[in-house]
């Protein structure tokens, strides 16, 4: 296990209004301090700070190319940060592999969907369950009773997960053949199967129609309530962001230019000028 750095407790003073009251007094489940990365000479992200409560839903918005996905890649150790630290539940994740970060409790989806296209829907989720199944190679090769027990148990759990989005009937469909929206939803379920503490959703509503988006909003809240996890999402759909996020950060040119509740963000002149003003989203 990595060194336990600072077990700083969230306090109301530092970041008023930003942490939901129910999460106060606990260690932040995800914390980034002065995070930054340079590509060549170009600074893609600079001085990014976040502290998330255990059951918080936050949003990250900003124009294309502002560095939102780069932040996800930093938080999941796809990229190595040039500056700053990331703490998951108080543990520094520096130098960890993507797998270790996932085991620490961070799961994610991808902007350009990355499913296991040629595997069935249920198998996609079972891959996520892989580490929890924990059956030994011998058990699986020789088909010992433990193999069947674990397979059945996790297959049932996978079906339960599919139930969240009403997708049981697709269980044996090849993931690559799913409709677009269902692919996005499956990615969320696959991430959930790894039992994360923080779920990072990269444009979960992209390509969905208003009805689907409405449903997705409900389901994101449902997931948070049932699993008691924190969710950080990147989204261009302002209805979704303003509707379910408790905290919203606005990113422009790799820097957070504003942070606050949806109300504060919508009325922040800097945001309106830098972002909303240009795009006429709301």
């Amino acid at each position: 296990m990595p060194n336990k750095h600072e077990r700083s407790v969230l306090v109301q003073m530092e970041t008023p209004n930003l942490i939901p009251e129910r999460d106060l007094g606990q260690i932040p489940v995800l914390e980034a301090k002065h995070l930054g990365i340079d590509f060549g000479g170009l600074t893609a992200v600079d001085d990014f700070n976040i502290a998330m409560g255990k059951t918080e839903i936050s949003g990250l918005i900003g124009p294309n190319g502002a560095g939102k996905t780069t932040i996800f890649n930093l938080l999941t150790n796809v990229y190595k940060p040039t500056r700053g630290t990331i703490l998951v539940d108080g543990y520094d994740t520096a130098g960890m592999s993507m797998v270790q970060v996932n085991k620490m409790g961070i799961a994610r989806t991808f902007q350009n969907i990355r499913l296991f296209d040629k595997m069935s829907v249920v198998d996609n989720i079972l891959v996520g369950f892989g580490n929890q199944m924990g059956t030994s190679l011998a058990t699986d090769l020789l088909r010992l009773p433990a193999h069947w027990r674990r397979e059945r148990e996790f297959r049932d759990r996978a079906m339960d997960l599919l139930g969240i989005f009403d997708m049981q009937r697709f269980a044996n469909t090849e993931a690559g053949n799913l409709p677009y929206g269902a692919q996005r939803r499956l990615e969320i379920l696959r991430a959930l199967a790894t039992e994360p503490k923080v779920l990072l959703l990269d444009e979960p509503a992209a390509g969905m129609n208003p009805n689907e988006t409405e449903e997705l909003m409900e389901n994101i809240q449902k997931i948070r309530d049932e699993f008691q996890i924190a969710i950080l999402l990147i989204e261009h759909d302002m209805g979704l962001v303003m509707g379910i996020c408790e905290v919203v950060g606005v990113l422009d040119y790799g820097r957070i230019i504003a942070k606050g509740t949806p109300d504060q963000i919508q009325n922040d002149p800097q945001v309106i000028e830098a972002y909303l003003g240009k795009q006429e989203v709301i």
């Binding site: 999941t76 796809v78 592999s97 993507m98 797998v99 996932n102 085991k103 799961a107 994610r108 991808f110 990355r114 499913l115 296991f116 296209d117 040629k118 595997m119 198998d123 996609n124 079972l126 891959v127 996520g128 369950f129 892989g130 580490n131 929890q132 199944m133 059956t135 190679l137 699986d140 090769l141 020789l142 088909r143 193999h147 069947w148 397979e151 049932d156 759990r157 079906m159 339960d160 997960l161 599919l162 139930g163 969240i164 049981q168 009937r169 697709f170 269980a171 469909t173 696959r190 991430a191 199967a193 790894t194 039992e195 049932e226 699993f227 008691q228």
Partner: protein, 377 residues
């Protein structure tokens, strides 16, 4: 990190998943019993036909080779079809398995005074020697697979192809020249390793084939196999989903090498001579053709095309000159017109077939039902 919270999440159990309609199913034990009976029947009947003379010595020899190439193709399929990599040194692992098993059996039988005739008669000691020798051959190949896999798998596609090709060449050169280094006769150099006892038979070759197919099948239909397939489909997503990609890539590669070594061990006993020249680049390509033609990722495809491509050239000796060029054309045409191979990723399950028959679902009827299901979806 056992976490019990998820057992009761997400509300109700899905209704549609398990019981759309009352369907007759075949229980798992029943499936296993049926398959075991069929395999045993195949082995016994085959063995009786060989000993009774219904299968000639020559035909028996060809059949053993069919078995050997089935293992070769299925094992390469692990790395190519399941893991999605293209190693071009599969013959190298075969040669390591063959040499190590043959040398082991030659040396040990000399030491304990077992003769070739004992192997033909099939004494218990010989049976034990066979099992230990074949496993030893597989392990030696697996070890070399580990040595080359660790650096090779850090690289992608073409680099992996060339590094494995290079490794197989290194193995060939080592087998050719190792005797001068160690100072005594180990591999026999260019003239080859001779005096290998005939330790294979129809029965033990196909018993090994059955065990290999079973183990590869159970591996793929488990969390380990799913991890391997996930890496093939999307390596970055696999890693983000908690699949230790380095471990599983190496693992798949080593398993692939292990079974190639097992096939090599059988090959040495079947042919009776080992020579480095037999395990060049061409041999690796021949096996690749089997996998590609059968359908990358389909075990049945590998089995069928290995069988056909082993028997066909024997049956059509007159066309031997054109065989290689035909392989080349088949390879190119398959890639252009049917890249998924003859079988695609279809995997045969006798249990499923029986289940469909029990429900009166015939293949053509099933297709119609599928179409309706698609239309509804």
């Amino acid at each position: 990190m056992a976490n019990e919270k998820s057992t009761n999440v997400a509300g109700a159990r899905p209704e549609g998943a398990t019981a759309t309609r009352a369907r007759r199913t075949l229980s798992t034990p029943a499936r296993y019993v049926i398959n075991t009976i069929l395999v045993v029947a195949f082995l016994v009947i085959g063995d009786l036909m060989v000993s009774g003379g219904a299968i000639s010595r020559y035909q028996g020899f060809v059949l053993q080779q069919v078995g050997i190439y089935i293992i070769m193709a299925v094992s390469l399929n692990i790395a190519t079809g399941y893991l999605g990599q293209l190693p071009l040194g599969h013959a190298g692992f075969m040669s390591i398995g063959g040499y190590s098993c043959a040398i082991f059996i030659i040396r040990v039988s000399e030491a304990i005074g077992v003769t070739s005739q004992d192997f033909i008669n099939g004494t218990p000691v010989c049976g034990l020697l066979f099992v230990v020798g074949v496993v030893f051959g597989g392990l030696c190949a697996a070890l070399s697979g580990l040595v080359i896999g660790i650096p090779a798998l850090r690289l992608k596609g073409d680099y992996l192809a060339i590094i494995t090709l290079g490794f197989a060449e290194i193995i060939r050169v080592v087998m050719l020249n190792i005797d001068t280094v160690v100072g005594f006769e180990l591999t026999g150099g260019a003239k080859g390793l001779i005096g290998i006892p005939p330790y294979t038979s129809f029965l033990n070759v196909f018993a090994v084939v059955a065990i290999s197919l079973f183990l590869i099948h159970t591996m793929m239909k488990s969390r380990h196999g799913r991890a391997i397939l996930a890496i093939r489909d999307n390596e970055i997503a696999a890693e983000a989903t908690g699949v230790n990609t380095t471990y599983y890539k190496t693992f798949a590669f080593v398993v692939s090498a292990f079974f190639a070594g097992v096939a090599g061990a059988l090959y040495a006993g079947c042919i009776g001579v080992m020579a480095p020249a037999r395990f060049g680049f061409m041999k690796s390509i021949e096996i690749l053709v089997m996998v590609v033609l059968g359908g990358m990722g389909s075990m049945l495809g590998s089995v069928v095309s290995a069988t056909v491509l082993t028997i066909l050239p024997e049956a059509l000796r007159a066309f031997a000159d054109y065989r290689m060029i035909a392989y080349a054309v088949v390879l190119i045409l398959t890639m252009i017109f049917r890249p998924q191979g003859l079988m695609g990723r279809y995997d045969f399950s006798l249990g499923n077939v029986i289940e469909h028959l029990m429900n009166g679902e015939l293949p053509w009827a099933r297709k119609k039902a599928d179409k309706e299901a698609d239309a509804n979806a």
